[in-house]
Symmetry: C2
Subunit: 228 residues, 2 copies
């Protein structure tokens, strides 16, 4: 930080909107701020979880950064049979998520969860949340077709996106996923997408078709009221 | 290349599909291949140009790689008032596009064009191609809303996407764009997207809603026939 006492900063805590603060005192790894006034109310953020098999450093960092930029509300690493990354550096993921939130002007930081194995994830799944499983087998519903249907039928429901590892899910995992009542297999077209591209693509489709990129009059009532 | 004479490779030229070839002779910067048989016919590729203000190296490389993966048919750098990159390394762009095409299993390489200034681009524009201009002013049509309309009305027309520089288009450029009969200003939601994210998002929306990610029965007749 190149700022010193008396300098102004914009601050957020994920609940109370964006604030104008001033640095009162600086410490080695932080500073004490005095809040002067609220610059903007807390925006209504999207409720969309991104579940992904951890990737190598470069693509993994890209996935986290872009997911924040595209409004994901939670980042959840899932260990699958073909996951190549042996561990998840959660501190790094959290630091990246904070940096990306600042960069894109979000007033919150998505939750970054502990990694969980796929079977446990499905066992503890909140049944009222739809899980869009990006299925590379070609048997899923085309993603926009599915989302346009949801939009047309005005089906309000929290959602999540699941992206497999570079090598894909294995047969057993695919069957396990397809057996869940809350799972919708979706398809991302005929090209071989890298895992991070697939994650970005699924988030974009969600935001564009049923998220906050659409026209206000097609948005859910609650969100419209919050923005008014 | 770690391969030697007699080894098999998959080859494509953008017209004749994917071929199984064998290395006959190796030279310093290449090899002579003998084609044995066709592995797959040339797939019908998308007709979508991506026009973008050149970016710095990292985000610029990402934009090119992902645009190839998402099926862009031409990559066209456009110089705008606020473009920060002073030159375009076209050879590098071409090399990246070839590498990305191989990686994602495309049987063609998108065209990589010489940079052109925005006014000249608009002067020479082929009037039958719609230009979706990603407008950060908030006055564009939400991108999915526009594309769903196009899909519902079955409006067949070649298209292009235009993304501005990090600093956005200036007022004069925006007015110039809005004055063209072939320009449709579209909106990419309330978050501040980086230029490369905006490019990826626009390509994803296009492919998902009216491109080849949708269900075959909603695809244009010609494309469906080609895949059958």
């Amino acid at each position: 930080m190149r700022l010193g006492p008396g300098d102004a900063v914009a601050a957020f805590n994920g609940h109370d909107g964006e604030w104008l603060g001033r640095i009162e005192a600086q410490e080695k790894r932080g500073a004490t701020l005095r809040m002067e006034r609220r610059l903007a109310p807390q925006p209504e953020e999207s409720d969309l979880w991104l579940l992904f098999a951890p990737l190598k450093r470069g693509p993994g960092d890209l996935l986290v950064t872009k997911a924040v930029e595209l409004g994901a509300s939670a980042l959840m690493p899932v260990m699958t049979a073909r996951t190549s990354a042996s561990r998840v550096r959660r501190e790094r993921m959290r630091a990246l998520a904070i940096e990306a939130s600042e960069q894109c002007g979000r007033c919150d930081v998505p939750e970054t969860r502990e990694p969980v194995r796929l079977p446990e994830l499905l066992d503890c799944w909140p049944g009222d949340r739809r899980l869009m499983f990006c299925d590379e087998s070609g048997h899923g519903l085309p993603i926009a077709d599915y989302l346009i249907e949801v939009r047309t039928d005005k089906i309000e429901m929290p959602r999540a996106v699941l992206i497999g590892p570079e090598g894909g899910f294995n047969e057993e995992e695919r069957a396990m996923l397809r057996g869940q009542p809350f799972v919708v297999p979706v398809d991302l077209g005929p090209r071989l997408l890298r895992a991070e591209t697939a994650a970005i693509a699924a988030l974009v489709c969600w935001q564009a078709v049923i998220g906050d990129w659409r026209r206000a009059d097609t948005a859910p009532v609650a969100a419209t009221a919050a923005r008014a």
